[in-house]
Amino acid sequence: MRAPFTVLAAVGAALLVLPQFAAPYYVTLMLPFMAYAVVLLGFNLLFGYTGLVSFGHALFIGVGAYTGAVLTTRFGVRQMEVVLLAAGAAAAVVAAPVGALCVRYVKIYFGMLTLAFGMVFYTFLLKFYRLTGGDEGMRMLRPSLLGQEWAGFSKTAYLIGPYYYFSLAVLVLATGIMWRIVGSPFGLCLKTIRDNPVKAESLGLSVPRHRWYAFMVSAVYAGVGGALLATPTGNVDPTLAYWTQSGNVVFMVLLGGFSSFFGPILGAFAFIFLQDAVMSVFPYWRLVFGAVLAALVIAAPGGLMGLIGSIARRSPFEAARS
């Protein structure tokens, strides 16, 4: 949990100057990383802090991404700030009823329900061609940032310049807010519920209500992350909401380490860049990633943060909850 301030400052500084030094290709890779990092921060509020594993989180990524696409193409709304707010709001609107139903269950039943809701949305995207563009999806037009059009910028220049810094700002903001949330009394309540729901209930906490709030917050994060994700590709399609996408989200969090605040961010980074590295030498990245995931589950359930922690021996290795 304790991340030394110096490491954080160094990482922040590196992120700020990165576009000046790194090749444009790697800077564009940072964009999905930052988008997923936002998604995972929210996801881990549910997984790491509340103890609920959603297997349908791609639903909210999809809602966010499609909100962005619909707003920019159909309604001519080009301000990214508005798009992000709308994406978060849309995710919250969907999450309110879905979450209210799902949080009545825990463990495998919670996972199955979220998976089913995710697939409902996926089939909706796929089958209602006139509304959603079917399997071809929809275009996401280049949004304006801070009221600026950036019309003179080529696509790459736009992405590695203004959009990079915009994404970074969103990520920093999202991280700051999440840091406050997990440290707040509300965050402590969630951890209590995770560790001992019966005791939490007898202490007067409404367990379903807190789970529902956590679900909503995580959905808003996924919506915002989904909208961020849509701009670099310029296109959104139903695979964003498919169940394997939800599986990848869980994978990333586990890769980074779910019992650590910064684990999910590290997980998103490792996943994106590892995927790129593997794909450049070997087309079958799923094979490699499947093996990595199996090894993680069996040997290192604490993820990368767990490994770092046990190597540094700073704090006793936080074993997986069982």
Partner: protein
Amino acid sequence: MGGVFHAAILFLVAAGLQLVFGVQKIFNLACGSFYALGAYTGVAAVGYFIGRGGSPALFIVPLVLGGLAVGLVGFVVERGLLRFVYDRDETFQLLLTFALVLMLEDLIRMTWGAAPTSTGGLYLGYGQAHVLGTVVPVYNLIVIAASLTIALAMGWLLTRTAFGRIVRAAADNREMAEALGVDLRRVYARVFTLGTMLGTLGGALVIPATAAMSEMGIELIVEAFAVVVIGGLGSMRGAFVGALVVGVLRSLAIAVYPELEMLLIYLIVIAVLLWRPRGFFGAAAA
């Protein structure tokens, strides 16, 4: 009738899923991948058989043998991976099977390529039959009959044999079964292998009537998932009824209003999960 054929296949895969969940309490996401593996092996086995001058009328023999043989991969998976996580949180078990999904999908792509493959029109060689006013390939009827036979055989195995009694005991109460001298490691290895074989056989049997694609596994798992939720997790009878419901509803929906196809099924799944999380035959507490 197309719905019943689909249901027959779904039943096989879902039965494998149920068996594993009932005994090992692991929701095996990879059952769809085993199904795909069976399908590709079936195509390869038939191709080899025909290539060596085998009679096209007997293609079903290598098909079934191939499907069953590749099911042995389940033994390797259980001994090599799953046995390490039995005492872990179910999240990790689920993720391990997701890892299998990823690996198997690419293994299939590496071995057989990304393009769809099929056995061609061989299955029409058995002719067609008129059933209830519709024309159905005889092959489909054979598969339906085979699936019914397997359903009965599974019922017999689980209720009438010593192995079945041990399996049910282990499903009911692991500790008690172990205390009574049941070697759980062997039971788990066998149950998982059997569950895998049901999936691979399902894949092999479906393939003459369609084409093998690398996405077929991850697509089928969500249907098998719907089957077991509707029927009730861990129940064989549930797998049977659930498969019929999903198979028939799907073909009805396609005929009436194609957009609704899977949407309808997921909505039913959600309704069942909300009102009756145990499904129609599930006994395990939520």
